[in-house]
Symmetry: C2
Subunit: 413 residues, 2 copies
């Protein structure tokens, strides 16, 4: 095998998570051990920062006696320590100037290894860069490292960051159910959970059902057409069983015509990827229940804590996120390019995984939805099979470093 010597660069992109820095720590850890890599650079704010040559020398920061403690602190720090961006690369065809500029920057910094940690849109960047560099006469290894709380990336059993978000959601929903249970007056609490097209995070609100017994009465996912009439019937049925009803809903609920439940209250603004910003699914349902049933009702939006609540991160998720970054470094060293690292769940009784490289083409811009077998027949709850699938991903707690009662974080100076 030909040995490719030079430098490496790593970036983070898309929405941050509680585990994305663990993957960064894994990539750094792997690259520092790699004798073909001289300097590991970090790009500030993803590809945007790389294009303006906003680089940080990670070898200087981590390649010293404090490596272990610094990488550990980084692994427990929420949000993208290198910053993020939402820049979408142009199509390789017809945008040669853009890519030639990129290649000239690779040459300038002798970048031979390129790592991009992110979700669907970031894998699109990896795919385009792979496509261009395949025929550009500059040898560079391009590897994607998956990251998204949404768990909607294809080709990987689950995504780094999902387990921590799921643990936060399941824990918080348990607490909300306890909180709601104290009064005897009939009341409905609607918990809105992130998930535009895939309901994985909303599924996780039900985890308590097979562990502690605390779970929402109903769980609605974007994988099923949502009907306001059936929803009200479900709420009535729940209220007939007990006074304190808790319901989990995905932000992306749509009726059979594809109209979002929160459409009336959403901003209508779309981001550069054409995603519509949603808001108010929970609030819209709150107002609807109030109007139809007249009972006490409130909505709770778990909001951005779902992706940054590192204080209740899953130890397994943090460890796997680190390992997937480490595996990416090793794969690149072994000559792999044009790949996304994936987590494969191994067959057998216990839970075990291996990390494999999957060809990037076809991964980006595809969405992995919750499968039929994970949703009940009525489309208003999840199956035990779904919960047993997610449960191993939330196991274990991390030992944060606390100072005067507050978690400490890693900071690039």
């Amino acid at each position: 095998m030909e040995i490719l010597r030079g430098n490496a660069v790593v970036g983070q992109s898309g929405g941050p998570t509680a585990a994305i820095n663990a993957s960064l720590a894994g990539v750094i850890s792997g690259l520092l051990e790699c004798e073909n890599v001289t300097t590991v650079y970090g790009m500030r704010n993803g590809i945007e920062g790389f294009l303006r040559e906003d680089l940080i020398d990670l070898t200087s920061v981590f390649g010293n006696d404090e490596k272990e403690s610094k990488l550990r602190l980084l692994s427990h720090t929420p949000a993208s320590a290198l910053g993020s961006c939402r820049k979408k690369l142009p199509a390789p065809e017809g945008n040669e100037e853009f890519y030639e500029n990129l290649i000239s920057l690779f040459k300038k910094y002798d970048i031979r290894y390129f790592f991009y940690i992110g979700g669907n849109d970031s894998m699109d960047t990896v795919a385009k860069l792979t496509k261009y560099t395949a025929n550009c006469n500059y040898d560079i290894k391009v590897i994607g490292v998956p990251k998204t709380i949404d768990n909607d990336l294809c080709a990987t059993d689950h995504t780094p960051g999902f387990g921590s978000a799921a643990k936060y959601i399941a824990t918080t929903v348990q607490e909300i159910i306890r909180d709601c249970a104290v009064y005897t007056v009939p009341a409905v609490t609607i918990v809105e959970i992130m998930g535009r097209d895939a309901g994985w995070l909303t599924v996780s609100s039900g985890l308590g059902r097979i562990v502690t017994g605390y779970a929402p009465d109903y769980i609605y996912l974007p994988e099923r057409d949502f009907s306001l009439d059936r929803f009200i019937d479900d709420v009535k049925a729940a209220l007939s069983r007990h006074p304190n009803v808790v319901i989990a809903v995905s932000e992306g609920l749509r009726d059979k015509n594809g109209t979002y439940v929160g459409e009336g209250t959403q901003s209508g603004v779309a981001d550069v990827f054409g995603h519509k910003y949603l808001s108010g699914t929970g609030k819209a349902l709150e107002l609807y229940v109030k109007e139809k049933l007249g009972c006490k009702v409130r909505s709770v939006e778990l909001n951005i804590s779902q992706r940054c609540a590192s204080h209740i991160a899953s130890r397994r998720d943090i460890e796997e996120s680190f390992n997937v970054g480490l595996a990416a470094a090793k794969a690149a060293e072994g000559g792999c390019t044009g790949c996304m690292m994936a987590i494969e769940r191994e067959e057998g009784d216990g839970y075990s995984v291996k990390y494999t490289a999957k060809e990037i083409a076809g991964i980006a811009n595809a969405v992995k939805r919750v499968p039929d077998g994970f949703i009940n027949g009525e489309g208003n709850n999840v199956t035990d099979e779904a919960l047993r699938y997610i449960l191993p991903l939330i196991e274990g707690e991390i030992d944060l470093d606390y100072k005067c009662g507050l978690p400490e974080y890693f900071v690039f100076n």
Copy 2:
């Protein structure tokens, strides 16, 4: 001293907290040691449950070999394990029939010790019961145990439950600030924090400033008249310094005429105590910033997790909450009645407290607001003095019992 022999009853009332069960555990622990008390009863759903004789024999539940482990689990369990109510007792004058019925129930169950754990409205119950029983020829000791995340009870240095809520808020706001910092596009994030009349919880959002360096750009409390014009000027000033602006606001912000910022979006419904239900202070400010500045803006309502996020409870708060319950049992045994137990912060360099009984008259229905010295001159932030005052209350973490990645709770069977 005359010895009063008989049974005891304890109840929980008002909004639940992450620490109210620790106070219940403290009361139970103290009473189980008290040789004058035969049976300790718990009232389900506060005084409402007592009136319908919905009692649980706590001596049977806890007075056995499993006492320590059960009390420990109870201490770490969020929300009122005995259930709660919002019932307001009628005035003793002119409602003799109501109170005679209550006394007949005390006699029926030989109740000689009455403990009520709650906030302002619960202390009103204690005060009225004290007033009536003072002249009713039935000897009973009536003690209030303070509880409220709002920290707005008079006569106590701080309230059990506040420290855990403050720790949750400070931790979550740190995480939100990290999350918001990843992009370079100017954006404003408004975090709405509970506090109708007192801004204590909102103050605590700033704790990171003196520990880790993470704190909101501005903090607005209900103790100061709120001006939309000054607010917009502040936001502009913050945006001129850095792109990612985070602002903490109390739900109870009012302008100089007393009109709530969220008035346009509130439900207008008032509860039995005449409190107006507020909603939308953060949302109202989000829409205002959007209109005036046109930048990216969002609002985050921390919502009920503020009072039930026991997974990030303050160890000091849980210990003090237990101790204040324990002290209540001891005080009653010593003949004390018509009192609320208070936490007194002792003079000196380190942090230490003692627990004392304060006469209940005058405590209920008064609100302790954030003092002038804790708010900066511009009324848009808090002083270091305020933060140093709160900081000891969030110190220490608790060791929860986890099962398959989820916290376990105490349940009365």
